[in-house]
């Protein structure tokens, strides 16, 4: 009987040591989870969640347990997917979702070429040099609205795409 008890105790000890070693010295897989969460986010980089872009929000969700219902462009769909991946409860969206895809448009007759909007764009979708007219690359614009506030002449509007 003692043999059995000792054997089991030895196995438990070895396994316990191995596990504690692994948990301390091997890299954690939270990075992988961040990637996974980031993949579920819409990548508009709009910062409406309060974090500067989708990846920072994904990191905050994983590392700091921030709520999963802060992404208006993703809408209920994204919340459902996030909840399923993280094993959390589905919550209603904190803010109203935006309807459909929209892109920012610069009124080129008003643009003074201040580069403020260009510097605000999270995906480099605005081209233009100092004191020259700016324009938006429609295919790359995510409709995040971050360029609208910095414009000193209010020449940027959001246009819905059908």
């Amino acid at each position: 009987m003692w043999t059995a008890i000792l054997t089991i105790a030895a196995i438990a000890l070895i396994a316990g040591l191995a596990l504690s070693y692994a948990s301390q010295s091997l890299p954690s897989d939270s990075g992988k989870l961040v990637d996974q969460i980031n993949e579920l986010l819409p990548q508009t980089q709009c910062a409406q969640c309060g974090f500067p872009g989708c990846r920072p929000y994904a990191q905050a969700i994983v590392n700091d347990g921030v709520a999963i219902n802060l992404c208006p462009p993703g809408g209920d769909d994204t919340i459902r997917k996030l909840a399923a991946t993280l094993g959390k409860e589905v919550l209603p969206l904190a803010e109203q979702p935006v309807a459909g895809r929209a892109v920012a448009v610069i009124d080129e007759t008003l643009c003074i070429g201040c580069t403020h909007c260009r510097n605000a764009c999270p995906v480099d979708a605005i081209v233009g040099a100092h004191q020259l007219m700016h324009t938006i690359i429609e295919a790359e614009c995510t409709g995040c609205e971050l360029c609208i506030a910095p414009c000193p002449v209010d020449c940027i509007t959001l246009r819905a795409l059908s």
Binding site: N38, L41, P42, C54, V123, D124, T142
Partner: protein, 505 residues
């Protein structure tokens, strides 16, 4: 080698449908007289729209190029008769998505003057594969079976693959349509000539001409022509009458017993499939320098006074064609472009006959099927599906908008043949649901690709900003270090200079 042979592969599912073909095959093909006006959509093929190369008011001759290809996939469009360009404007057309499309409108002068050919075309045997393919590209030829994929591009893809067989598709399995049947009866020689051009271009040794068993006259005529030529490379094959054995992948399976892989092409299993009408168009262009200007189309159904097959100039309106066939009957209520299974219902007969128009079907009021009922999971749809999908499962996931599952269950392989609709005891419009679901999948894929691009741009921007910050910090550190190394005298001198500058101001 000309007797029909029977060694065939197996086709899953399919249906034996009532053919309704006899009503339109009693007479020879008749030519629709030249209308006053021709309406030619700039999109008559799969791929990018052709770009008009004529201006309003310009006079054009029959066979003159009026819209040229732009982009990687497309086919040029030629004037089908001589006359004046009067408009380039949106016009109702029969397409699966959208109802209006830009069209070039020609007011015919009635003279039907053709473009003078430069010189007699060289015999095709003397041309290389590249020369032939380039020439076919200029002829505006597209797959005339209904998919209207540009033939030249299909051949250019095929020539990069290892091919064993050319398969000429004369199956025409959809009810009511009989244009290929009539074409095979009257243009058997041209079909064989087109087949030889294709086999020469692709260096193929074996060509099959495949005809369904319910077309005995066409089989006999083709048999006679092949017997006369005694060409051992061409073989006539007869296949049983089962819908949809005329689908490209289904036909390959039937003839060679090779299964086209999911998402693949027949060329992946060494086969090139062309419609018999396409073969005739290739013959007309390569041998007679006549681009694709007209096509044979079936005008039929119980809503037409005198069902028949007609040869109509591309751009002739459906109204003109129906009038030529004796007009509508009193009970006519539904106009379909294409067959009853895969065709598209249109609301206006102003739509023109285009390269894809193989049938103009006018039906009287169909008896109502009754309302759509819940799926009882009987599995009849799975038994008839020629692609061996599980329509009842797909329907389930389409309702739930579950993209992953729809992909897993092979929705993208659905050929939209409509067999599942027909057998469904609950009258569920499965095919149209699948069509919507496919569009949804495409949309989601687009969204995903866009998000991925935005993510990459966001990350590379952050990297760039970090790098700029670092460089600035390094530069600052370097300057600080330089100032420290310079010693007190140098610093005093710099301060003095600064003071002088301030005083100057």
């Amino acid at each position: 080698m000309s007797a029909p042979t029977y060694d065939l592969g197996k086709l899953h599912g399919g249906l034996r449908l009532q053919a309704h073909k006899k009503i339109s095959t009693s007479e020879a093909i008749r030519t629709v007289p030249l209308p006053d006006q021709l309406v030619l959509p700039i999109t008559q093929h799969a791929g990018d729209p052709a770009q008009p190369v004529v201006a309003i008011g310009e006079r054009v001759l029959k066979g003159q190029l009026i819209a040229d290809t732009e982009g990687s996939l497309g086919a040029p469009i030629h004037a089908s008769s001589s006359g004046k360009i009067v408009a380039i404007e949106p016009w109702p057309v029969s397409r699966r998505y959208g109802d209006n499309a830009p069209c070039i409108v020609i007011e015919c002068d009635g003279e039907d003057r053709a473009l003078e050919p430069a010189e007699a075309p060289p015999a095709f045997e003397t041309l290389s594969a590249d020369e032939l393919l380039t020439k076919i590209l200029r002829g505006g030829i597209v797959g005339l079976g209904g998919a209207v994929f540009p033939t030249a591009q299909k051949l250019m893809q095929a020539i990069t693959c290892e091919l064993d067989y050319l398969i000429l598709n004369g199956v025409e399995c959809e009810p009511y349509i009989s244009c290929d049947d009539m074409l095979m009866r009257e243009y058997a020689l041209e079909i064989v000539s087109g087949a030889r051009i294709l086999m020469h271009a692709l260096k193929l040794e074996v060509g099959y001409i495949v005809v369904e068993s319910d077309k005995p006259v066409a089989l006999q005529r083709l048999g006679e022509v092949l017997a006369e030529l005694d060409d051992e490379h061409l073989v006539l094959k007869q296949v049983p009458t089962i819908y949809p054995s005329g689908g490209e992948d289904q036909l390959v399976q039937l003839i060679t017993n090779r299964e086209v892989p999911s998402g693949g092409l027949p060329t992946d299993v060494g086969c090139l499939v062309q419609n018999v009408g396409t073969a005739v168009a290739i013959h007309d262009w390569i041998v007679n320098e006549q681009p694709l200007l007209s096509r044979i189309t079936t005008v039929t159904g119980d809503g037409v006074t005198q069902p028949m097959n007609v040869e109509a100039r591309l751009g002739t309106t459906v109204a003109d064609v129906v009038e030529f066939a004796g007009g509508y009957t009193a009970g006519a209520s539904q106009l379909i472009i294409g067959g009853p299974m895969t065709g598209k219902s249109v609301t206006s007969d102003r739509v023109p006959v285009v390269k894809a128009t193989n049938c103009i079907l006018v039906l009287s009021e169909a008896p109502s099927q009754g309302p759509e009922l819940p799926c009882i999971r009987c599995g009849d749809c799975a038994a008839v599906c020629p692609v061996q999908l599980l329509p009842q499962q797909l329907f389930w996931y389409a309702c739930a908008d579950d993209e992953t599952k729809m992909r897993d269950y092979g929705l993208t392989d659905c050929i939209e043949c409509g067999c599942c609709d027909l057998v469904c005891p609950s009258h569920i419009p499965l095919t149209s649901d699948f069509r919507t679901a496919k569009a949804r999948i495409r949309e989601l894929a687009d969204e995903k690709a866009r998000a991925e691009r935005a993510r990459l741009r966001f990350e590379s921007r952050n990297e760039r900003l970090d790098k700029e910050d670092q460089e600035r910090a390094q530069e600052l550190a370097r300057q600080k270090k330089a100032a420290r190394n310079a010693g007190p005298d140098a610093i005093a001198e710099i301060l003095k200079r600064k003071q002088e500058q301030d005083e100057d101001r």
